[in-house]
């Protein structure tokens, strides 16, 4: 069993390419490849080394991917998996628009490298409803008009569901505090709080 749990080499790409023993194994001409790496031109080749495997579940669907380590979970969802319901609002963990659940906990997907989510289960806004049947929080947001432009809404809803599940929705004041990581520039806050409070008070398991 390796001490390193993922299979990326400990060396930079260039260092890696310099290891002739590996080149032999790969049946490649060292000089050509090395030159390519130095000039950063052979991207097709580079991908072999720069992307690393990632296995995760998103909305109960299993994915086996290869991604660059610098790709965030947010960009993976939006650009690779076409799950654009999760929004990019600031890309720095300062607005909450990118909130998703990772193994049940709400997190800002913009500050999470995708590769840090190996083996985890991610739920996005697209995974909240059961088919055509809206999740009670989604229905409550519509009823209380908990949005205007709708851009922060998926993040607000994911955060709201977690807020109730965590047991932090016992009063308006508590909801406001525990929802403060989700900014809404249209200012739908009071309506969002009403929606959350209603879902909480109904007591339905969410």
């Amino acid at each position: 069993m390796s001490e390193i749990d993922n299979n990326q080499s400990g060396d930079t790409r260039r260092d890696f390419l310099k290891k002739t023993s590996l080149f032999t194994a790969l049946s490649l001409t060292p000089l050509t490849v090395l030159k390519a790496a130095d000039n950063k031109v052979d991207e097709r080749f580079a991908e072999l080394f720069e992307k690393i495997p990632l296995n995760l579940k998103v909305n109960n669907k299993a994915y086996s991917l290869k991604v660059e380590p610098r790709v965030t979970l947010l960009d993976l969802l939006r650009e690779e998996l076409d799950l654009t319901g999760t929004k990019k609002g600031c890309d720095h963990g300062q607005c909450g628009a990118c909130t998703v659940h990772v193994d049940g906990a709400r997190v800002n997907s913009c500050l999470s490298l995708a590769v840090m989510n190996e083996g985890k289960s991610v739920t996005t806004i697209e995974g909240l409803a059961k088919g055509e049947e809206l999740h009670p929080m989604q229905a409550a947001f519509i009823k209380h008009d908990g949005f205007q432009c709708g851009y922060c809404t998926p993040g607000q809803i994911m955060s709201a569901v977690a807020c109730v599940r965590e047991g932090h929705a016992n009063s308006k004041e508590e909801i406001r505090e525990y929802m403060s990581g989700n900014i809404c520039r249209c200012g739908a806050y009071p309506n969002i709080v009403d929606a959350i409070q209603e879902v909480k008070e109904k007591g339905t398991a969410i």
Binding site: V41, K88, Q94, D145, Y151, E177, P190
Partner: protein, 706 residues
């Protein structure tokens, strides 16, 4: 049967809560590439060299655009330097100006390659210091609006009681939650589709046509869902043009989503303002003179003005009023209207001064306002089309518990907190423009309405569907309103609280026409004129009927003065030791004619109040004048209000139709929801503490030091 019920939900609610609503950046086009901008790191000067070698050699990079490879834009060759021509010259006008655009096959690669572009500059001296420039005669000021005088200028100076004060506002940024950007996709050499974030698809289409000198019909602008605008998406910004150029150059669709810090410099802001108000009154509380002089910030390369002093001309019954408004060109990016625009800036100053005068007179500020409320428009000498603000004052005062307020500041305490109440008025033009709507009435019972208007959040479609539902007696779920596509019948941009009035009137006209046609068809078929349209169409063997109507701008502006009004009441708590201000109660009263969609209308008022809390207490873009650069250009340090800042908000509507403005009797409310709010907070802080903070935002330090 009335299908129009009070609690109608938003027509696009399900799309928005399920993540299915697609905003501009979410269209997955084959061969999509990613653009990332390189912003200038100097504030003024010239670009002497751009080294793109490393960037171009970086993995996945397709091209790097800059003025050095001047991408094709026929329109730029025709004279004039304004609006700013992107990648056209070596000139740098402001810090953060886009100077290059990197296009790569993935977002990560484009982002990395952008860091490899090395730009060399020749720096020039610059000035971004707004406050210093006002007093500095060497900084040229421009007249922002013609001077206005009614009666005697500066009459306040000789009044029995006078107030003369200065009010300051910092730069604010719109910062909608959705980052700005565009996807550009040239279908052929002279046909382009753009997925945009815009408040006006037709305006965007016209701008693009002008820059690239191709026919408007060759350009399709799609922008169905817009993640907030607040004014910043009222124009097509240079960065959008850059992306369209890039797509032409690399012959692939290019997507550009700018970063949050770029939102502070590339897409406008609410300009900083410095205002002097002089108020004169008789001892018994009659205003005898108002003088309002304002300075606003603009840029050196494009001019921007707004209605900062407008409200002072007609809001109060004073025989003597004079106003003046100047703009100060600085080496900063050009501002753009931000919700409530200049009127919100002006209202803060005027409504603070009114409160100061009431205090000087030892009068209840509500009573003082009512006493000076004009019956007719004192600027134009014509009646208001409708104005119910006395009723609004009364309803709001009751709801907030105004009679708990003590006129003497600092009278109410609650532990470490001091409690205060404040009031302020907001007003905005209730204008109406020209719009075209197409209506398609189908034999299957559905109605499709189309217009190239926008919805940046207020619920345009919801309002239009409700108007049609009420007029046509068709259930809302059978009506679709299509918007946000330049190929639809033309409509103006969504701005200045005009959409409901303007597009709604065209919807109204379409429905009236459809009903007449149905009645005619019914008569032809010997049916009752009140027959259901489905039966009528079937009987006439028609699968559908189609009507297109263009509504005209309101023609009665010479006879009536048309405005929407709001009254904001707030209660604040101010902490004795820490200076923290909490808005603890809000009552906003809207006097904006008939309410078409109560649920979304209420949300708009609520949203305005939240924006008002930001303006009053937290928002300030801080520029370090040594570098010409913002130092808090992010959501952690530029504080927009969060959940915990916002109490319950009561919204009251007068809900009386004004049929002079339009056939629905409804007036816009996007601006009035915000205008005046900050003044109400400042007035409440004074009432709580006796401290008059004349510089926004009212942060804890100002309260402590005040």
């Amino acid at each position: 049967m009335d299908f129009f019920v009070d609690e109608n939900d938003r027509v696009d609610g399900i799309e928005k809560v399920t993540g299915k609503a697609k905003y501009f950046a979410e269209f997955k086009l084959p061969g999509l590439t990613y653009g990332v901008l390189v912003p200038s790191t100097i504030t003024k000067g010239k670009i002497t060299a751009i080294d793109i070698k490393a960037a171009k050699n970086a993995p996945g990079v397709l091209d790097v655009l800059s003025h050095l490879n001047k991408p094709s834009a026929a329109g730029y060759e025709a004279g004039g330097g304004s609006p700013m021509k992107i990648f056209y010259t070596d000139e740098v006008f402001f810090n953060g100006q886009p100077v290059a655009l990197v296009v790569a096959d993935t977002f990560e690669r484009a982002t990395y390659a952008a860091t490899l572009v090395k730009v060399s500059y020749e720096k020039a001296a610059f000035n971004t210091d707004f406050k210093k420039s006002i007093a500095d005669a060497s900084v040229a000021k421009k007249q922002g609006q013609p001077p206005y005088v009614r009666g005697v200028a500066d009459a306040y100076k000789t009044a029995e009681v006078k107030v003369e004060q200065t009010y300051e506002m910092p730069v604010e940024t719109h910062n909608p939650m959705e980052l700005h950007g565009i996807i550009a996709d040239w279908r052929t050499n002279d046909q382009v589709t753009v997925y945009a974030k815009t408040q006006g698809v037709k305006a965007a289409q016209a701008t693009i046509a002008n820059v690239f000198k191709i026919p408007q019909e060759n350009i399709q602008v799609k922008s169905e869902f817009v993640g907030g605008g607040f004014g910043m998406a009222l124009r097509t910004w240079p960065l959008e043009i850059a992306t369209i150029m890039a797509s032409k150059q690399v012959k692939r669709p290019v997507k550009l989503v700018i970063t949050r810090d770029q939102m502070f410099t590339m897409v406008g802001n609410r300009p900083a303002a410095y205002q002097k108000i002089g108020l004169g009154a008789t001892k018994d509380g009659k205003i005898t003179g108002i003088t309002h002089t304002a300075f606003g910030q603009t840029s050196t390369y494009e001019n921007f003005t707004e209605g900062v002093v407008t409200m002072s001309k007609f809001m109060y019954a004073s025989e003597n009023v004079n106003t003046n408004y100047y703009v100060v060109p600085l080496d900063m990016s050009v501002p753009i209207w931000m919700r409530g625009p200049g009127e919100a800036t002006g209202a803060f100053a005027l409504e603070s001064a009114i409160d100061e005068m009431a205090h000087a007179l030892d009068m209840d500020p509500l009573e003082f306002r009512i006493k000076n409320d004009p019956e007719t428009d004192p600027m134009k000498n014509i009646p208001f089309s409708s104005k119910n603000i006395k009723e609004a004052y009364k309803l709001g005062a009751e709801k907030i518990g105004w009679n708990n307020r003590k006129n003497k500041p600092g009278s109410i305490t609650e532990g470490p907190w001091k409690i205060g109440y404040g009031v302020s008025i907001g007003v905005f033009n209730a204008s109406r423009g020209r719009a075209t709507v197409k209506g398609i009435l189908n034999a299957n019972g559905s109605l499709i309405l189309q217009s190239a208007t926008s919805d940046i959040g207020p619920g345009t479609g919801t309002g239009m569907v409700l108007i049609a539902s009420r007029l046509m007696n068709i259930p809302v779920e059978k009506i679709t309103f299509e918007l946000g596509d330049s190929s639809l019948p033309p409509a103006p941009s969504q701005g200045g609280s005009t959409t409901l009035s303007t597009v709604g009137t065209a919807v109204n006209d379409v429905c009236v026409s459809l009903k007449a046609t149905i009645a005619e068809l019914a008569a032809n078929a010997n049916m009752s004129t009140t027959s259901n349209f489905v039966e009528v169409l079937k009987k006439n063997n028609l699968p559908m009927i189609e009507v297109t109507k263009q509504s005209q701008a309101n023609q009665q502006g010479k006879e009536y003065s048309m405005y929407s009004f709001s009254i904001h009441f707030v209660q604040v708590k101010v902490h004795n030791l820490t200076g923290v201000v909490k808005v603890s109660k809000i009552v906003s009263v809207g006097d904006s004619g008939k309410i078409i969609s109560p649920k979304t209308a209420r949300s708009q008022m609520v949203g305005g109040a939240v924006g008002g809390i930001g303006m009053a207490l937290t928002e300030e873009a801080l520029l370090d004048n040594r570098y010409g650069k913002y130092v808090n250009n992010n959501f952690a340090d530029y504080h927009v209000p969060v959940h915990a800042d916002v109490p319950e908000i009561d919204v009251i509507f007068i809900d009386k139709p004004d049929y002079i403005v339009n056939p629905m009797g409804a007036k816009g409310m996007g601006e009035i929801a915000l205008i005046g709010f900050a003044g109400a907070v400042a007035n409440a802080v004074f009432n709580a503490t006796g401290k008059r903070i004349r510089s926004l935002p009212i942060t804890p330090d100002k309260v402590l030091e005040g």
